[in-house]
């Protein structure tokens, strides 16, 4: 298949970016979207041009590194699919594909399609963990966990922190990400001890990073490659309300 690619090129975070148009012929329909970009980059290198910088790591749909907004959709048109698991057979011969980076103040573009998602790391560092003393691994089932809660926590834990929710949200809100992390730990007894301080600190960091607020459009859920549910956002709202009301005067 022959494709026209309009790719966002930006030298560095302070440079002004622009779209470059590339013609790519004989693209294998079985190639993944990233493999298609590999072919493009090989072509650019052979022509003595700068290859397109893009993030990728596992290429198995689990690391959350690949990004790319493809024709206005985070991770492309397929549901529950990361860019690396999107294959060219889902496009048509002669298509024009517009590829942009995640666009958010909190995710500054480093180069081309690569953005700095350090804001997510800082949110996790603000409370997205359980403080435990190291020691021997405890026996499984020492602490009983209700099956339903374990399932919900596991669903939330499926978040790979790719940032598609932020990219898809009209407000660049990080609510789905933060709610998944808060839910994951709040639902389990191990996370219960730090439940309230966790949600307060993570939300404070989220706001500090410059993410927007939630308008309940559900775009995040629709674009999430791991199918994280917006019910987590409702839980985050609940947790934050309870934590704020219960917090002692400082």
């Amino acid at each position: 298949m022959n494709l026209t690619l309009k790719v966002w090129r930006q030298k560095n975070s302070s440079a002004k970016g622009t779209f470059e148009t590339y013609q790519l012929d004989n693209v294998d329909v079985h190639a993944s979207f990233l493999e298609m970009f590999d072919v493009l980059n090989e072509k650019l290198i052979n022509e003595g041009k700068e290859p397109v910088a893009f993030d990728h790591d596992c290429r198995e749909g689990i690391c959350g590194t690949c990004s790319m907004v493809i024709n206005g959709r985070a991770h492309g048109p397929l549901q529950n699919t990361t860019t690396c698991q999107l294959h060219m057979r889902h496009f048509k011969d002669g298509d024009t594909i517009v590829v942009e980076p995640w666009r958010s103040k909190a995710f500054p573009v480093l180069k081309d399609l690569v953005v700095d998602r350090g804001a997510f790391d800082r949110i996790i560092a603000a409370g997205g963990f359980v403080s435990v003393n190291t020691g021997q691994a405890p026996d499984a089932n020492t602490i009983p966990v209700k099956k339903e809660k374990a399932e919900l926590a596991f669903d939330a834990a499926a978040c790979i922190g790719c940032g598609a929710c932020v990219a898809a949200c009209k407000n660049s809100s990080a609510m789905l990400f933060v709610s998944a992390k808060v839910s994951h730990l709040a639902l389990l007894p191990q996370g219960n001890a730090e439940r309230y301080s966790r949600v307060l600190n993570m939300v404070a960091q989220m706001d500090k990073e410059g993410f927007g607020s939630c308008t309940n459009t559900n775009a995040c859920e629709a674009e999430c490659p791991k199918g994280i549910s917006v019910t987590n956002i409702a839980r985050l709202n609940r947790e934050y309300l309870a934590a704020s009301l219960a917090a002692q005067k400082k």
């Binding site: 407000n171 809100s173 993410f211 459009t217 775009a219 917006v230 709202n237």
Partner: protein
């Protein structure tokens, strides 16, 4: 601290929104009285009650506060949200993942706000501070009914009211159920009911507010 966080601001939006939703029921109930064919006696009697009852008088200030907080907070939230995405996408495929109403609450709210200013000038200020043109009806109550009938004899006003009510309708279509979720109220058992009631409420309220100007315009053609 809580109310200045991104979540807290949405609690405020949700609480004031739900309060305004409850107000619309009272407002529509009163307005529908203008359709009773008694020359406006019931409608004017209701207006008189609303003007003189102490509880209603107090609630009037609460209502103004509700509107002002809802509007000002929405401006703040919108500005913060716009600042969160300084460079826009070249291709926008929002319709693939969300409803039109949910993405345009700000625009819909602005339509309602513009309408509100005109609407308050037409009726509220006319009643409170207007000269005595309105006169009294047979029961001795201020004849606001006359103002209703005369206003909706005019096509521009009738059209404006109907267009604005569509704006309100779409705003409520998303806002009703959304308020509950902003407050953390989401449950597999109750949320489908909330969503259903929200849509039913929206249809009834929007249709109700449209029927009144439309009726008065059509009977005076």
């Amino acid at each position: 601290m809580m109310f200045t966080s991104s979540l807290g601001r949405k609690y405020v939006m949700a609480l004031t929104g739900l309060f305004l939703i409850s107000f619309l029921v009272v407002h529509l109930s009163g307005n529908l009285l203008s359709l009773i064919p008694d020359g406006g006696l019931t409608f004017n009697a209701f207006t008189h009650f609303m003007e003189t009852n102490l509880v209603i008088k107090v609630m009037e200030y609460v209502l103004f506060a509700g509107f002002i907080i809802h509007i000002l907070q929405s401006v703040v939230v919108t500005l913060i949200n716009q600042r969160a995405r300084p460079s826009k996408y070249a291709v926008n495929a929002g319709s693939a993942s969300s409803t039109w109403a949910s993405r345009n609450m700000g625009i819909l709210g602005t339509i309602i706000f513009i309408f509100l200013v005109i609407h308050l000038r037409d009726f509220f200020f006319e009643l409170k501070f207007g000269d005595d043109e309105l006169g009294l009806d047979a029961s001795g109550n201020v004849n606001l009914y006359k103002e209703v009938v005369e206003t909706f004899a005019m096509l521009p006003y009738t059209a404006l009211y109907i267009v604005a009510m569509f704006g309100l309708g779409f705003h409520l279509w998303h806002g009703f159920a959304s308020s509950f979720r902003s407050l953390g109220l989401m449950h597999s058992k109750y949320t489908p009911a909330i969503v259903f009631i929200g849509k039913l409420y929206t249809i009834i309220v929007t249709a109700g507010f449209i029927i009144i100007p439309l009726y008065w315009y059509l009977v005076q053609l």
